[in-house]
């Protein structure tokens, strides 16, 4: 599995000739989380002066919430999921479905590439907590394997996670063990399918072509420079 960034905690700084920035405050947070959770921290990423990502093992997902809360991360921001599958539908300019209509051969499915802090599965749950006293936020991630789409609940630690988990449940089909009331939130109870999964087609896009196509026509006189008058 490819990764956008170094997942190793020791290599979070930019690699080559770029000035090596070290974010001591976020590094300290990461170190403390690692100390509290041990081997459960399986990946991390720091963007200096901006943000911190921590990926924990699925079994330690509820423990990560409790540990962070004990560290002062008491403000619950959000919880959701990501489907890393590259969309087979009209997300891109040369959407598979649109090409098939025009008779072009089907493209090979692009590989799944996870984001910051790495990952090994198609689905990831991610959540964000904020420490008001420290003024820092942390984004937690955890892998959820395809054959067992379930993970522990945060709602016992953060009451606000209740609705967020219900939303992730109906939109991605991920179940949260121990959730008190895991029913659909927005969708009708008999709705079939998981709308935010990448392989769930957006029907509006199937009946009407991609509106962004207008934006990529070359401007008159700009030649072939797709970047326009930038830089």
């Amino acid at each position: 599995m490819g990764q956008l960034s170094s997942a190793d905690t020791t290599e979070t700084q930019a690699d080559d000739e770029v000035v090596v920035e070290v974010d001591e405050r976020r590094q300290a947070v990461l170190d403390e989380l690692t100390a509290r959770l041990g081997d459960a921290v399986v990946g991390s990423h720091i963007r200096p002066g901006n943000d911190l990502w921590v990926r924990v093992d699925r079994s330690a997902w509820p423990a990560a919430a409790a540990a962070a809360k004990a560290m002062g991360y008491t403000f619950f921001d959000f919880l959701s999921a990501i489907d890393w599958l590259p969309s087979p539908f009209g997300r891109d300019m040369d959407a598979q479905e649109d090409l098939l209509v025009s008779g072009a051969p089907a493209k090979e499915q692009a590989p799944i590439v996870q984001g910051y802090a790495g990952g090994e599965t198609r689905f990831q749950v991610f959540a964000r907590l904020y420490s008001i006293s420290a003024g820092l936020g942390v984004t937690f991630k955890a892998d959820v394997p395809d054959d067992d789409l379930s993970i522990g609940t945060w709602s016992s630690t953060f009451a606000g996670a209740n609705w967020h988990e219900r939303e992730a449940f109906e939109m991605f089909g991920i179940s949260f063990d121990g959730h008190p009331n895991l029913i659909k939130l927005y969708l009708p109870s008999d709705f079939q399918g998981f709308p935010l999964r990448k392989d769930f087609p957006l029907l509006a896009r199937r009946v009407r072509p991609w509106p962004g196509i207008v934006d990529v026509e070359p401007m008159p006189g700009s030649g072939d420079d797709a970047e326009g008058d930038g830089e």
Partner: protein, 391 residues
């Protein structure tokens, strides 16, 4: 109607409510009250299923989704500038404020920063959206509690702000004015002086509301001590904005974590909190914030730098690979966008953290044990916009 004579449930409520008025001895039959989806107190189509025992609420479960527009899915098939037009419609009373965190998140990934003049105007318009949003709340909340006069004053004075937003951006409700790297356009001629006058009117409006609504005895008896939310509960539900500050938490993203691209540090202003955490506190904090916002706008208008309003960005926006989360202090509370980009014209995934979603998820907790008329006070004071819940 469904009967709720579950003894255990009643016993639990009875234990929790301080003034125990649940009649366990007679075992009166409960009833289910459906509020909405159409209800004046909901700013949209929210349905609340309340189970009652007499006048007391045993449980209240909000049922959102009547207005879900699937923005998180739609963002995956729209270019970044097109997403800007979508996010305008999340909190439709403070539209410009919705654009800003999205644009800032995209700017973080692209590594561009708007020129100083654009940052100033962005902050000014952001605060004007706050005034437009909250001044309606002040009027509407009075209306919900039976005080009709305040609504007329609010609609009259909100017009001054909307006119200024319109003359600068071309849109009263959906400006779509913010751009990655700056703003669509510069300010029109004479706008600064006009806005100064409008802000003076809004400050007078706040003083008026202070006496007309906040100081009203009936209003106070309907809101004081009703729907109390302690700070730790508020934090764990992720309440933000005035709802959190009314519980005594001194936290404002504008002051404490002002993202690059906004200039709140250039003005001298104050974050208001209230210790009580009740409906009155939430209203009072909002009224103070409206006045404070007008003062911020007036200060920034005086120091607005000259220069361009747009940085050099490619005409066709491709955001580099990466993830970014930017959160700002919107009129309704903390609003953020988590953007995952794969280096294409469209975002790979956008998670929209809207303030009302968290703010309203506390309703089952706070409504339990309340009386039916207080339910209106509580819902109104939590102040949600349905577009901000359903997205």
């Amino acid at each position: 109607m469904t009967a709720t004579s579950d003894r255990e449930q009643l016993a639990e409520i009875a234990a929790k409510a301080n003034d125990n008025r649940v009649n366990l001895d007679f075992e009166t039959e409960g009833m289910t009250l459906n509020m909405g989806p159409q209800h004046p107190a909901t700013h949209g189509t929210l349905r609340i299923v309340a189970k009652l025992d007499g006048e007391q609420v045993i449980s209240a479960e909000p049922i959102p989704g009547y207005m879900h527009r699937g923005y998180e899915k739609l963002t995956e098939v729209r270019t970044y500038p097109q997403v800007n037009a979508l996010v305008n419609r999340i909190d439709w009373l403070g539209s410009f404020a919705n654009e800003v965190p999205f644009i800032l998140a995209a700017e973080t990934l692209m590594g561009v920063e708007a020129p100083p003049r654009a940052q100033w105007i962005r902050t000014i318009l952001f605060e004007m959206s706050r005034i437009a949003n909250i001044s309606l709340f002040l009027g509407d909340y009075g209306l919900q509690l039976g005080g009709m006069t305040a609504a007329f004053y609010a609609f009259r004075d909100r017009e001054h702000v909307l006119n200024q937003i319109e003359s600068a951006t071309g849109g009263r409700f959906h400006p779509n004015f913010d751009r990655i790297g700056g703003l669509k356009d510069d300010l029109p001629k004479g706008w600064i002086a006009d806005t100064h006058r409008a802000m003076d009117k809004l400050i007078a409006f706040c003083d008026e509301m202070d006496t007309l609504l906040i100081g009203n005895e009936i209003f106070q008896s309907r809101t004081r001590g009703i729907g109390v939310i302690p700070a730790d509960v508020a934090l764990s539900y992720g309440l933000s904005g005035a709802n959190l500050r009314a519980s005594g938490v001194d936290w404002d993203l504008r002051r404490d974590a002002c993202p690059p691209g906004m200039v709140y540090d250039q003005a001298d202003w104050k974050v208001w909190t209230h210790p009580d955490g009740d409906c009155f506190g939430r209203t009072w904090v909002r009224m103070q914030e409206t006045r404070e916002a007008a003062l911020i706008v007036k200060q920034l208008l005086d120091t607005i730098p000259s220069g361009p309003v747009m940085a050099k960005v490619p005409r066709i926006i491709k955001v580099p690979e990466g993830e970014a989360y930017v959160e700002t202090e919107n009129p309704l509370g903390a609003m953020g966008y988590y953007i995952v980009s794969k280096g294409e014209l469209v975002p790979f995934r956008v998670k929209i953290r809207s303030a009302s979603f968290n703010n309203i998820s506390i309703v089952p907790w706070v409504a339990r044990g309340a009386y039916v008329p207080d339910l209106i006070s509580i819902l109104g004071s939590l102040y949600f916009i349905l577009g901000d819940i359903d997205r």
